[in-house]
Structure formats: C-alpha cells, structure tokens
C-alpha cells in the first residue's frame, strides 16, 4: 500500500477537533500544574515536618512512576472510591498533578536560591513577610525558573498524548479515529506529529518570550 497524503484534507475536521481538545487539555493542565507547583513548593518549605511529610510521599510516588500508570490510577481509582469523573477531567487532574510535582521541585529550589540577604534587607526596610515574598523574592525566583518551567510545559504538551488511552478525543485519539476509518496509519500519524510539532514551536516561542521578559528582574 503506497502512501497517499491527499487523504488528509477529507479528515481535516476531526483533526481540528482533536487539536482543539489537545490545546484545551494542555492549557488547563499547564495552569493547574503551575498553581499546584507553587502550592506544593510552599508546603515543602514549611517549617513543620508534619506538613511536609505527606507531600514528600506524594512527590516520591509521582516522580518514581510513569504518567501512564498515574492516569490509570486516577481514572479507574477514583471510580472505585465512588467519584465518577469523565475522561477529560481525569486527564487534566493526572497531568496537573504529575507536572505539579516536578514544577514544585523547580520552584522550591529557585526560592531557596534567592540570597537570604534579600529577604533580610526587605524586612529591615519595613516590608512585611508577605510583601517581601511577593515584591522581592518571588520576582527574582521567577526569573530563575522560567526556562525550567517552560521545558516542563513543553513536556506536558507532548505527554498530553497519553490521555488518549483513557478515551479523551484529543489529537492522538482523533488521528486514530481517522485511521480506523481510512486504514492509513502512516499518513495520519505523520499529520498528528506535524500538528504537535507546530503547537510545540508556538509554545516554545511563547516560553522564550516570557524568558526574555522575566530576565529584567534579574
């Protein structure tokens, strides 16, 4: 069977729908993974071991196991304890949690890396603890973390393809639908790869832009 890429336009609508869901899934997960990352980082910097301990357990488990397994756990596991989630929500939760753990690690080390003198200086000019964090420490930390967090976002976009295994109609599963109709796996996986590549380039452009902007806080 030869290759015939002219078949792709007739399935364009299904690919566009898939792309839409991949973008929605990734955007939501990136947002929640950042929020979760900040939250986990703050928890991990807490003075009390009893607060830190449960998070360390989760982080250890989520960093040591594949995302695919975590997807199964969240999708099938929550059903077992009576929470019936649709696949999309389960996918967002799994992706967000998985990447929040990695983001937390990055954010935590960036906050720690800001010189202690900065904090002491801001306190001694009369800023409160919260103000010092918000106006002095975090802006500097952000400049340090942007490249690493950007790489995580790019990774998240690619890993979002795994969500197809629990039945979310994102780009990967949409191309599989097109394939089961047309019996042309090669063409459609190339098409899907090309779309992912373009999305990735866009995201990378955005990340580099953000890097340049945040660099002025350095």
């Amino acid at each position: 069977m030869g290759l015939d890429f002219t078949i792709i336009p007739s399935y364009l609508d299904i690919l566009i729908t898939g792309t839409y869901w991949t973008v929605a899934l990734s955007t939501l997960s990136i947002f929640f993974s950042l929020v979760g990352g900040v939250f986990f980082a703050v928890v991990q910097l807490n003075r009390h071991a009893i607060v830190r301990w449960p998070f360390s357990g989760i982080a250890w488990l989520f960093m040591g196991t594949p995302l695919l397994l975590q997807l199964f756990l969240i999708y099938f596991g929550l059903v077992q304890i009576g929470i019936d989630l649709n696949a999309f929500t389960a996918g967002v939760i799994a992706l967000s949690l998985h990447f929040a753990v990695y983001n937390a690690d990055i954010i935590k080390s960036a906050i720690v890396a800001v010189d202690k003198g900065q904090y002491e200086a801001s306190r001694s000019v009369g800023l409160s603890q919260l103000q010092a964090m918000r106006k002095v420490i975090v802006p500097q930390a952000i400049a340090n973390v942007t490249p690493a967090l950007g790489n995580m976002m790019i990774a998240l976009l690619k890993e979002s393809s795994l969500v197809s295994v629990i039945g979310v109609m994102e780009l990967t599963l949409s191309s599989q639908r097109a394939i089961s109709d047309s019996f042309r796996p090669f063409e459609f996986y190339i098409a899907a790869a090309a779309i992912y590549y373009i999305l990735n380039l866009g995201l990378e452009y955005g990340v580099r832009n953000a890097e340049r902007r945040s660099a002025r806080y350095r």
Partner: protein, 216 residues
C-alpha cells in the same frame, strides 16, 4: 488494601518488570549510540552532517513519543517496516531517547573549554585526534549525570509501549485493573517495581558519576 490479592498476583508483576528492564536497557543502548552519532554530527563543521542531526533532534524532541511509537508500529508496515511489538517498542523508545541523549552529549562536549581544542591543534593533533584524545575523555565525566536523567526518564517512559501490547509492567497493571477492579492495589504493586528499578538504576548512575567525577 487487598493484601491477599497482591500476594497472588505479584509474581506476574515481577515477570513484567523484567520485560520493562529488558526493553529499557536495550532502548538506552540504542539511544546512546544514536545520541553519540547525532551529537558528533551536530557539532561537525560539515553542514551535510550538521543539518540531519539537528533535524533529528528537533523532530524527535518536538513530537510525542507515543505518536512516534504508533507511527513506527502501525505505520511501519505501509512503508515496508514490519516489527513485532517488542522490537517496535525498543526501536521507538531508543530513537526517541537518542534525541534527548544527543543534547546531553552535545552539552557535555561544548562545555569542555575551547582552549583545550586550540592547544591540541597547536600541538599538531588532527581534528579527530583532538576529539578522541582530549575532548571526549573530559566530556565523558560531564555527561554521566544528564545521560542518567535521560535513562531514568526512559524507564518511566517505557510504560507507553503497553499501548502496542508489549507485556510489560504497565500493561500488566492495566490488565489486572480491568480484571480485578482494584486500581489502587495494582497501582501500588506496579509503582513498587518501577521505584525499585529506578532506584537501583540511579544508584548505579551515582556510583559511576562519583567514580569519574573530578572531585575524587
């Protein structure tokens, strides 16, 4: 937590874990070879070597590993590549991780001071000799850790070959989740095996890293 069930099925997970180890090791070896060749290619002065290497890295890092695997396994037969799931898994993962390893190796090579190359050239060594005798031995100690990180990512990433029905750890976990409806127990069991594999592997990498690092 159904301990009795875990006691009954853990042996199948152990067998599956061996498959995961086997796939990962072979894919890591393939990735190292490809990464090394691509790294040298991308640093070459010859554009005909440089561009294919850069394109390889860009494309395989820019698209999901799952799509690459599907393309190889399901799309391969259309262009005359017939592989069984295990072969497709190893080759697919290996080609994917090779692109990441290329960047690790390239980073280590360019981190060697430029003066080393210049000094080597001044002494009358050729390009190849400088690379072989001066740059690579120094770069080698700097690439151990990043390559270790890539390899550990691959071990966890190898879970995706379950989607082309290779009977490895995640496939086994999925199968038992479907047949027993005990996702927590099965996740717990598979996690233990993954964490054990990753821990042993990172211990090994740490050992090599300490041995080759300059601090000793």
């Amino acid at each position: 937590m159904d301990i009795e069930l875990i006691g009954r099925v853990w042996i199948y997970f152990a067998e599956a874990a061996l498959v995961t180890v086997q796939i990962s090791v072979l894919a890591i070896l393939l990735g190292l070879c490809l990464g090394f060749v691509a790294a040298l290619g991308s640093l070459s002065v010859n554009a005909a070597l440089r561009w294919p290497s850069r394109a390889y890295v860009s494309v395989f890092r820019g698209t999901p590993a799952l799509i690459q695997l599907f393309l190889l396994y399901f799309g391969g037969p259309q262009v005359g590549i017939h592989l069984d799931p295990m072969e497709a898994g190893i080759i697919g993962l290996g080609i994917n991780i090779g692109a990441y390893m290329c960047e690790s190796i390239r980073g280590a090579i360019i981190s060697v001071d430029k003066g080393q190359t210049e000094a080597g050239r001044c002494m009358g060594l050729g390009h190849f000799q400088v690379m072989n005798k001066i740059i690579l031995p120094q770069a080698a100690r700097m690439m151990v850790r990043p390559l270790g990180v890539n390899s550990i990512a691959l071990i966890k990433g190898s879970a995706i070959v379950s989607t082309i029905s290779v009977l490895e750890l995640s496939y086994t976990a999925h199968r038992y989740i479907s047949s027993t409806y005990k996702p927590f127990e099965m996740f717990f069991l598979a996690s233990i095996f993954y964490i054990v594999i990753v821990t042993i592997f990172s211990y090994g990498v740490g050992k090599i890293d300490r041995r080759v690092s300059l601090e000793n």
